[in-house]
């Protein structure tokens, strides 16, 4: 049953062009745009966390949230409810499949950086980085599940998922260089989940103190709050 549900989530992921573009294509596109503007490959590796955050947001909002809202809208979830697929299994396999896709992407991005841009993999704390990547993904997943269920109308929830995705991308400082944004927007961007996620991942990736600043605490707090909210509002019908 678990494999069947994972296969379902993955099929939905790869059959939706917007998921493929933003979740898997855009990080590579960004990598090549960035690489053209940098002299040294060594500097490029500081961007890996940001590229993974873009992918995580895309996998959570354009895939998980939008697909969940769509499944609510067409009442496919009601069909699933009449099988042995419980909400727990649906959510668990949803997380597992998207997380799997994110790890494959992370491995591919790292491989490209190593092969083409001379990235060094030595002195990395892989365990910490993996743990932080999972934490960050779960934070975005829980926010996206709240968004997918918060509104009563499933169609509106789907629209809200896309709006939130683009807001996080643009206002969150992932599409424009932070320094190029007006002061007010910089302050907003610095206090939104994407920036906290980038800070935490960068610390784990570059081997600096992840407890420096308040990003780690913010990620944990946002995860906890949206965990409760997504449970409260979850709809499997």
């Amino acid at each position: 049953m678990i494999f069947g549900m994972i296969k379902y989530h993955l099929l939905v992921l790869i059959r939706e062009p917007i998921n493929l573009f933003f979740g898997l294509g855009l990080p590579f596109l960004n990598l090549f745009i960035l690489s053209a503007n940098l002299e040294y490959g060594a500097t490029l590796d500081a961007y890996l966390p940001a590229l993974l955050v873009v992918a995580a947001i895309a996998l959570c909002f354009t895939d998980s949230a939008a697909s969940h809202a769509y499944a609510r809208q067409i009442k496919f979830l009601r069909r699933l409810r009449m099988t042995s697929a419980s909400p727990k299994i649906y959510v668990f396999t949803g997380i597992l499949s998207r997380l799997g896709a994110l790890f494959v992407l992370a491995a591919a991005l790292t491989a490209v950086m190593v092969i083409f841009f001379g990235l060094s993999l030595s002195h990395r704390n892989w365990l910490l980085f993996t743990a932080m990547l999972i934490l960050v993904f779960i934070m975005f997943y829980l926010i996206s599940m709240f968004v997918a269920n918060a509104l009563k109308g499933a169609k509106n929830s789907q629209n809200l998922a896309y709006v939130t995705f683009f807001l996080l991308l643009i206002v969150g400082g992932l599409m424009l260089p932070l320094g190029a944004m007006p002061g007010v927007l910089q302050t907003i961007a610095n206090n939104l989940p994407p920036m906290f996620a980038i800070n935490v991942l960068q610390s784990a990736w570059l081997g600096t103190d992840i407890f420096y600043g308040h990003s780690f605490i913010a990620v944990v707090a946002i995860t906890a709050v949206f965990g409760l909210l997504s449970i409260k509002f979850f709809k499997f019908e």
Partner: protein, 233 residues
Amino acid sequence: MIHIEGLRKNYGSKQVLKGVDLAIETGSFTALVGRNGSGKSTLVDIVSKAKKPNGGKISYSFEESKIFDHIGVQLQDAQFDSRLKVREIINLWESLFGGAKADLGELIEVLEIEPIMNQRAGSISGGQRQKLSILMALFHNPELLIFDELTTGLDASTRDDVQEYLKMLNRDRSKTIFIVSHYMDEVEALCNMVYFLKDGTVFDSGSPHHIKEKYSCSSLQEFVKTYIGKVAV
């Protein structure tokens, strides 16, 4: 198998079901008939646990927590994920039920699913979707089958095949069947018990023969036209 007493359901201030009494007896082929908006689908939703009633009592002859082991429901308005192929949906259901408990080959043949196996659910016609929906209801070989507008959208030939198949399931394999239908000829041909819903309550019930005799009507269509009102098809 299922006994309903005094079932009530409101949507805001609108009372849709005002105390419905109904029984689906084991081995029966029961129909529910009523005008659009009379609460038929609401009743199916409540029986299949998709909605909660505002009052009344439902007793199941099986363990209520395992309801979907015992019933298969074909839903009127629920669709399939349009991005999945029909074959993938069937595979998903096989995985969720640990394999098809019913004779899948037989179902695929009767419902003519084979030609659409490699098509995406979003590209199949309404009738083909209906057939797939019927297949999903029968997939785990449940004792009770609930069909909300069983043959709506099917062409005449498939409609006959599906009706014959369900008749055989009821007669030879002891399946209990409950249908919501707008087709009175279908109800007359298949059912041994029919409930007529009007203004949120059961107007009358009985076998088609009993109803026709009681109201001196030549057909159920005539009875419905005279006493229930226009039933949309």
